[in-house]
């Protein structure tokens, strides 16, 4: 518990961290609670098409008279969902590959690292596009899986390097000599060394998932059902909202994407500044 408070307290003295985490939590709440409180059906078509913001439609409507604010709230929800899901998949894959490599060494290490380097060199968004193009029906989950499958390599490499350097430290030898079980060794000695790094990577993976979804959607390969921030942008592009000056249609989803990903970036970098002794400000 003392460790917890020594770690958390300096974070909340950092102004940037507070701003970042507040913006992120705000959007998280908008995504979770927004659709429950703002009960407008985002798919309902009305005759008020392409209306600028008004009292009735706070963010205006699109070509089919659908309410943009309702779309935005549902979009934030799905984009966060896809981001979290993709990030979880990447984190699990990266941890498995990285720790297996570090623990097993030898041929397992060589094979896994060769595989990791191949995926690392191959542009993940292109493979995601290719795979998505063969799927006629794409659920939110399918999109998250496609994106999560390819963003783990650099994390696996970092975990491997970190674990390898840790397992040769004295305190780990001492724990082994003291007869710690493997599980206790992992939980007490190894996990804490990668915990902050894993958390920061998780944050970046969420960003990767949200950006990836937007990219896939814009190219026409987003989720085939539901509403996401990427799909909103795609509809806006298809309906030439930009060149026809319908700013209330394409600006909100982009602002949401930038606010979520940038606030997460700020959270992750400030954590790095606080926890990483080499970056700590004198």
């Amino acid at each position: 518990m003392t460790m917890f408070s020594t770690m958390i307290r300096p974070l909340f003295k950092n102004k940037k961290f507070i701003i970042g985490i507040s913006i992120f939590l705000l959007f998280l709440l908008l995504g979770i609670l927004g659709p429950t409180f703002y009960k407008v059906d985002p798919t309902e078509m009305t005759w008020d098409y392409e209306q600028p913001p008004s009292v009735e439609h706070p963010l205006g409507t699109d070509t089919y008279g659908r309410d943009i604010l309702a779309q935005l709230l549902h979009g934030i929800r799905s984009s966060l969902y896809i981001g979290f899901l993709a990030a979880t998949i990447s984190l699990v894959l990266g941890t498995i590959v990285g720790s297996l490599s570090a623990v097993k060494r030898g041929i397992v290490d060589d094979t896994l690292m060769a595989m990791t380097n191949i995926v690392l060199t191959t542009p993940s968004i292109l493979i995601a596009i290719l795979i998505a193009s063969y799927l006629r029906i794409r659920s939110m989950e399918a999109v998250a899986v496609i994106l999560g499958l390819f963003q783990w390599p650099w994390f696996a490499r970092a975990i491997r390097a970190q674990l390898m350097s840790v397992t040769s430290r004295e305190y780990v030898y001492l724990s082994i000599m003291a007869g710690y079980s493997d599980l206790r060794l992992v939980i007490e000695d190894l996990l804490p060394t990668i915990a902050t790094y894993a958390f920061m990577s998780f944050v970046l993976f969420i960003n990767g998932g949200i950006m990836g979804e937007a990219g896939l959607s814009l190219i026409g390969l987003g989720p085939t059902r539901g509403i996401s921030l990427g799909l909103m942008l795609q509809w806006a592009v298809l309906m030439e909202a930009v060149r026809r000056g319908l700013w209330w249609w394409f600006i909100p989803p982009g602002v949401a994407i930038v606010a979520i990903t940038a606030s997460l970036m700020v959270v992750s970098t400030t954590m790095d500044e606080v926890f990483n002794p080499r970056l700590r400000e004198e």
């Binding site: 940037k16 380097n117 191949i118 690392l120 060199t121 191959t122 542009p123 993940s124 968004i125 292109l126 493979i127 596009i129 290719l130 795979i131 193009s133 063969y134 799927l135 006629r136 650099w154 960003n207 950006m211 937007a214 990219g215 814009l218 190219i219 026409g220 390969l221 942008l233 806006a236 592009v237 930009v242 060149r243 026809r244 000056g245 700013w247 394409f250 600006i251 982009g254 994407i257 930038v258 990903t261 940038a262 970036m265 700020v266 970098t269 080499r278 970056l279 400000e281």
Partner: protein
């Protein structure tokens, strides 16, 4: 140095073979027979002429070689891909995929290469400057704005630009790579026209990639300035500028590796930017191929893009080996 490059070359070749294998396996492994899908999309494209559909059907069957064993299909696929034979397009039947891709590649290169390089140079300079002036307003300004700007998708920034400078202010053309009705030529008029179309897509890629480089470079220089050799030089009384120069040069190496690793992401973003701008490059062609489910074309574009990313990786490796004295002199691999 030669051994380093040879090893990298072999690695990239193996990676290319793995990637093309994925391209080969995917349509065969995914349930729902993509070949049937291709034929049905074919009949949508060319409704008018049943004779043409049948001809296209025969070509497709032959190209996919469905009657042969899988291994033979695979061998033929690899050989063809190496020879540059990427099959026949469905939506532009009977034109060859390669003949459709080759003309659009220069447009993508003209946009992507200068934008990536300019962003890399500007970003690294800004990042190094921020680290040098650590904890001043310059540092804080660069860091904060880079954090936000690096998260703006290029294509969305492009949309904002189109809306602001194209639609509202009317300063710049809102789409394409040159005005409709003009034919690309080597005249002054065409050059000016193309340049006007170029500004916005170029700027949106440069601005949103720059931030990432600045953040990376800043951390790297801060690390270097805190390392033993920098502290030692400081105790020796060496001028700050000189120490900074060493730190800067040492930090550039990882940024070069980063350039290689980021090429794919930048390419992906640029492809989508092309769609937003209706810019006649590879991304736009890919988009059209995706909307018509023109699988031979999708595969072809994919094979070429992947190959170019690997080739660019190799060029970066070459540069790296040339710049890093440890590799150039063969002391360390």
């Amino acid at each position: 140095m030669f051994r380093f490059l040879l090893r990298r070359f072999i690695f990239l070749l193996v990676t290319y073979i793995v990637a093309t294998t994925v391209v080969f396996i995917l349509p065969r492994a995914i349930p729902g027979n993509p070949l049937a899908q291709m034929l049905s999309s074919l009949s949508q494209v060319a409704q008018a002429n049943p004779e043409a559909i049948r001809a296209a059907e025969r070509t497709l069957m032959k190209e996919f070689g469905v009657d042969k064993p899988v291994l033979v299909q695979y061998g033929e696929f690899l050989l063809k891909a190496l020879r540059g034979d990427l099959g026949t397009s469905i939506s532009y039947y009977p034109r060859k995929v390669i003949d459709l891709i080759v003309p659009v590649i220069p447009w993508t290169l003209i946009l992507l290469l200068p934008a990536t390089l300019v962003a890399w140079i500007l970003g690294n300079t800004l990042g190094a400057l921020a680290a040098y002036r650590r904890n001043t307003w310059i540092d804080k300004g660069v860091l904060t704005s880079s954090l936000v700007v690096s998260q703006i998708p290029y294509y969305w920034l492009g949309m904002i630009f189109i809306f602001l400078f194209g639609v509202r202010l009317g300063w710049l053309p809102v789409q394409g790579a040159y005005s409709q009705g003009t034919i690309p030529s080597l005249s002054w008029g065409f050059f000016v026209d193309a340049l006007k179309h170029y500004v916005m897509p170029f700027a949106s890629i440069v601005i949103s990639t720059m931030g990432g480089w600045a953040i990376g470079m800043r951390v790297m220089v801060v690390y270097e300035l805190g390392s033993d050799y920098a502290l030692f030089s400081e105790y020796l009384g060496m001028r700050d500028k000189r120490i900074f120069k060493y730190a800067f040069r040492n930090s550039l190496l990882p940024q070069i590796t980063g350039l290689a690793l980021n090429l794919g992401t930048v390419l992906g973003g640029a492809l989508i930017t092309e769609i937003v701008f209706n810019y006649p490059g590879t991304g736009f062609l890919l988009f059209k191929a995706l909307t018509t489910l023109d699988y031979p074309m999708i595969q072809g574009i994919f094979v070429i893009l992947i190959a170019s990313v690997y080739l660019a990786n190799f060029i970066v490796d070459f540069l790296y080996a040339w710049i890093d004295p440890r590799i150039r002199l063969g002391q360390e691999e």
